[in-house]
């Protein structure tokens, strides 16, 4: 045990910055923006049309909830401050009002309808997977992913590339610790891509927050998703369904590249195509 703790200490020191920690502890929701930046605090806006709509929907619902919270807690705190025995208040005796009950049944209902409308519209848009230009099959394994480019008849496995030493604190942790793989999924930008998802052993889930994509990979069954990425870049995600011992160690790395670059990459892959 003491040996373990000693090994942990240098690592602790590097992460434990007391000043930042104190700031966070005191003014958690407010200070946290300064603490680590907005992107570790909220859902990413993402790089697809869908992810942006989902983000907007998320923020809309969030602000509605905040307003509801302010109204309800505001009334409550006012009451807690003003209607206390120590201020010499005598209690009122009312305990019923049908009018009031009806009002606070109907108003939330209207708010819910207002939420449901954009949610339904978004959902319908997300489910529209027709007219895709290419298809990739994603298969979950314990504990790695396989990507098959069905239009070009090749595929490969994608393993975590973070070293055991760095997981066990025996080596420095890289910038993309636990979110890096040996062979990333390469896909073209501005192309509607159909993703077929299944699994080989147990249920996994393929999740890339920047693409607002998450779908379960279920052995024996096929699921579908689609995406169309606007901006080239590297987008990272993880398995989201508990799938055994190394569930936390099967990340997803997506490289979105311009279509020309993608075509060149495909040629490179199929040229050496023993696989």
């Amino acid at each position: 045990m003491p040996e373990r703790i000693r090994r942990l200490l240098p690592n602790l020191k590097s992460v434990l910055n007391l000043r930042r920690l104190a700031a966070g502890a005191i003014l958690l929701p407010f200070a946290s923006a300064a603490l680590a930046g907005w992107d570790t605090l909220n859902m990413p806006v993402g790089v697809t049309e869908v992810s942006r709509i989902v983000y907007d929907l998320h923020m809309l619902i969030f602000w509605i909830c905040v307003v509801i919270g302010i109204v309800v807690f505001g009334a409550m705190f006012y009451s807690i401050l003003m209607h206390r025995k120590s201020r010499g208040v005598t209690a009122a005796t009312f305990h019923e009002s049908t009018t009031v009950e009806v009002i606070w049944t109907v108003i939330p209902f209207i708010i819910l309808v207002a939420m449901a409308v954009p949610a339904t519209a978004t959902l319908i848009k997300m489910e529209d997977s027709g007219q895709s230009e290419m298809t990739i099959k994603i298969t979950g394994y314990q504990w790695l992913w396989r990507y098959d480019y069905l239009d070009h008849d090749f595929g490969f496995y994608s393993f975590l590339s973070t070293s055991r030493d760095s997981i066990r604190d025996r080596a420095e942790k890289s910038e993309h610790y636990l979110l890096e793989v040996d062979r990333p999924l390469v896909i073209p930008t501005n192309t509607k891509i159909r993703l077929l998802i299944t699994a080989n052993d147990v249920i996994h889930a393929w999740w890339v927050p920047d693409l607002a994509l998450k779908r379960d990979a279920i052995p024996g069954f096929i699921n579908e998703l689609w995406t169309q990425i606007d901006d080239p870049g590297v987008y990272r995600g993880q398995c989201a369904e508990l799938c055994g011992r190394d569930h936390g160690f099967m990340p997803i790395e997506v490289h979105a590249v311009p279509p020309d670059e993608y075509r060149a990459w495909v040629e490179e892959q199929t040229a050496g195509a023993a696989e």
Partner: protein, 182 residues
């Protein structure tokens, strides 16, 4: 035990037994629901034994894309691939394709294919007239086989579905190894 208490207790216990039965009844209910709605994308277990008489089914003008995908379970070291990945089909017309399977191992094995369709709403509209699903397929060491599939896409396929995927996953059902994946 006082009489009214006993009566209440017995009635409630009966409800419990009923609910236990209900949990098992969920199994066929779920299958029925899946067949009706395509929930979970499973297609009906059997090929349509008596294909409904093709009275009203006419061949449609529009074309849809049908994709074929083959997968294997972790217990299953076979090579499986569809003869062709994509077909353009007219709903209402009957087509044929094959899947190739090869037993890569050095011992005889028996495989069984489980079909799945996405989008799920399309599952009831993909009518397989001849299919190798849910039938045992024995293969000797190194042996290959071509498995035919005769199918049509129903005219009634919702018009918003342009692409559908039929996926087969092969499981090892060799008598020695059992069907358990656990």
């Amino acid at each position: 035990m006082k009489r009214p208490h006993r009566r209440t207790a017995i009635r409630l216990a009966a409800v419990c037994v009923l609910m236990l039965g209900f949990s098992y009844a969920l199994v066929p209910l779920y299958d029925i629901l899946c067949d009706l709605t395509g929930l979970s994308g499973s297609t009906s277990n059997l090929t349509q034994a008596t294909p409904t008489p093709p009275k009203a089914e006419t061949v449609a003008e529009r074309q849809v894309t049908l994709q074929f995908v083959a997968n294997v379970d972790h217990s299953m070291p076979w090579d499986i691939r569809p003869d062709q990945f994509e077909m353009k089909v007219n709903p209402g017309q009957t087509y044929q394709t094959v899947f190739h399977a090869r037993n890569r191992t050095a011992q005889p094995m028996t495989g069984q294919a489980v079909p799945s369709v996405t989008p799920q709403m399309a599952a009831p509209h993909l009518i397989k007239q001849e299919c190798f699903c849910f039938t045992s397929q024995p293969l000797d060491a190194g042996e290959s086989v071509e498995m035919p599939l005769i199918f049509k896409v129903s005219e009634r396929l919702p018009s918003n579905i342009g692409t559908l995927t039929l996926s087969y996953t092969f499981f090892d059902v060799s008598p020695t190894s059992g069907t358990q994946s656990g």
